[in-house]
Symmetry: C2
Subunit: 174 residues, 2 copies
DNA sequence: TATTGTTATACTCTATAACTATA
DNA sequence: TATAGTTATAGAGTATAACAATA
């Protein structure tokens, strides 16, 4: 019994004892998980569709890269460092929209796996110059193969043309 | 100083004392937050663009509905209950992809604000039939006006046609 | 036995603030 | 004074598991 509905009145309504397994089809139905549930205005909000799509796409990415234990965020950090060796932590954080405090923990994990190294900057002793290690570069090449496989899943799901349209429409947000 | 780089060697490199405010333009630069930082393969991943777009859109929604203190998730719950009165918690959770354990807390908050009420189901005494209160319906009408304003922000940002294309492409995920 | 709502725990992520060593 | 990296804390959100009432 729902604990918070403790004061719910105990009315008598032992009606039709027979029923066809699910959806007794008598009268006072409530709308359960097996019913068609309308979205109303929600269907006209881009944000709702985008959220659902993003959940699907991240789940597929995580599943596809599960063997190498790399999340979308970790992948983005490794890719950006590899493409821009010597990047500072602030630059990575700003570019990817990650809090600098959060990036510290992300880099700690990646450094422990010897994928990334923090080197002393030659121009500003407050900051670190980030590089992938040799094994980090090798690993990233493997991650990219798996990420490409994930991207093929996206094509299977929404179609090649729609994927390209999405990339165009959302380009300003990268 | 970065605490973890404590063993960084203290080399001498007090070279050009003069510099033009930022980017001393001497030699061994690292790539700071003011530089152009390439995304490499990341730019070809739909998931990355979608994540950035979703962050923007949720931030705008929250900002636009800040005066009524309603989040995108709360809005989706209210909308679905209003469009399907008598919905059970399981049905809402499944339809919106929310964990049923999380929905309990969401509904507690909405019930405390007297926007939603949990009624005793007439057909299954384990479950609740969810309804908006009268003031909940009135409030939702106001929230919808603000949500429409948010949607206009989306149009301003990506254009009317692109928004419609997005809704079409992402329709299967709703 | 299975399901609904609930509670609790752990883990991730976000948002802040404060501290240090530098600039 | 301001900034880069770090640490710590609090609040969402997610993922689980377990429990009571009910089916």
């Amino acid at each position: 019994m729902p604990a918070r509905a403790a004061k719910a009145e105990a009315k008598s309504e032992a009606k039709s004892a027979v029923s066809g397994k699910r959806k007794p089809k008598t009268e006072a139905q409530d709308i359960d998980a097996s019913a068609h549930v309308g979205l109303d205005g929600l269907a006209l909000h881009v944000g709702y569709a985008v959220r659902r799509f993003q959940l699907w796409i991240f789940q597929d990415f995580i599943k596809t890269l599960a063997t190498v234990d790399i999340t979308p965020t970790q992948y983005s950090v490794l890719t950006v460092i590899s493409a821009n060796p010597g990047l500072t932590q602030m630059a990575v954080a700003k570019r990817l929209g990650i809090e600098r405090a959060r990036l510290v923990h992300l880099l700690n994990a990646l450094e422990q796996r010897t994928l990334v190294k923090r080197a002393a900057s030659k121009v500003d002793r407050r900051s670190h110059a980030l590089h992938l290690t040799a094994s980090g570069e090798a690993s990233l090449r493997q991650f990219k193969l798996l990420a490409a496989e994930h991207e093929r899943h996206v094509i299977e799901k929404i179609g090649k043309d729609n994927r390209e349209r999405l990339l165009e429409i959302l380009a300003p947000f990268r």
